[in-house]
Symmetry: C2
Subunit: 173 residues, 2 copies
């Protein structure tokens, strides 16, 4: 990957996350990256191809964050790590994280199955802890995760550490 390719991906991520995919033109990306617009299409074929590359790169960086949850074997730790997820995402990744939420609502077919492995890990955890309804417990945890993450990204959470402790205490974790 050349330095100009990196610049393109970085600018695209920033603009897509800030303004949205449809509201960002390829010419804007090129200008911010300091390259000719044609280069974007040489490397990524289309605007959609550029988006895919941006998402792929971001997912690579996010992978280990999810892995830590899915590979955890102690059931209480699975739940704890899931609920802590929004609080341990490094701030330099907020751009990509925000993009995920944006795309979920902006694109008709954006992969909604991404949470499947976490759902599986969670319902197994609740099953091992002998909860009455492990599937619904898992579902609710994922909804909380979604709501909390959304609020953090929208800058509606003033004290993250306080909220984190509150949630963990409530779940006795």
């Amino acid at each position: 990957m050349t330095v100009k390719q990196e610049k393109i991906l970085q600018s695209a991520l920033q603009l897509f996350a800030l303004e949205g995919y449809h509201a960002t033109s390829t010419s804007k990306v090129a200008k911010q990256a300091g390259v000719s617009e044609g280069l974007i299409f040489k490397h990524y074929t289309s605007k959609e191809g550029l988006l895919n590359a941006v998402v792929e790169e971001g997912e690579k960086r996010f992978k280990n964050l999810y892995a830590e949850i899915v590979l955890e074997d102690k059931p209480r730790q699975v739940i704890k790590k899931t609920l802590e997820l929004p609080f341990i995402v490094p701030e330099e990744e907020y751009g990509f994280w925000k993009l995920q939420f944006k795309l979920k609502w902006e694109l008709k077919d954006y992969n909604t199955q991404k949470m499947q492995p976490m759902m599986f890990a969670l319902s197994n955890a609740f099953k091992n802890l002998e909860y009455d309804n492990p599937e619904l417990e898992a579902e609710l945890v994922l909804h909380i995760l979604d709501g909390v993450a959304s609020a953090i990204l929208k800058d509606m959470v003033t004290d993250k550490e306080e909220l984190r402790n509150f949630i963990l205490t409530k779940y006795k974790l």
Copy 2:
């Protein structure tokens, strides 16, 4: 309001909710509404003006749904009605409801203060019930509300009634 104006608002809502604001052109709205494109600008000045009209109309229809929560005086009922909100929104309003979520992520400055009155009602309710941390309890309920609503709109909830009962039972409501 003429019949053509109603047709415009209806088509705009449908397209904005389905494809998003930026991805929907005024010519598309005009075509679906069966009017000339110029008429949109005669009535609503700009594309943004059209969006505002669509949102205003929708909020009129949603108003009583929120009012029932904010005007409720029994604290347990405030919490119950809040958590039940995603389950009692009539399906014919899913379009406008979806638009609200879309705009929250698509527009930079979309009103994030809409939940303020509900936040106030909730923290008061938890205060009356002598919870240790009423503000954080209220905040968490709103995050759950957000996560659950999001999942319903994304068609990720198979059995709504089951989830509703589960949540209410968990909160002993």
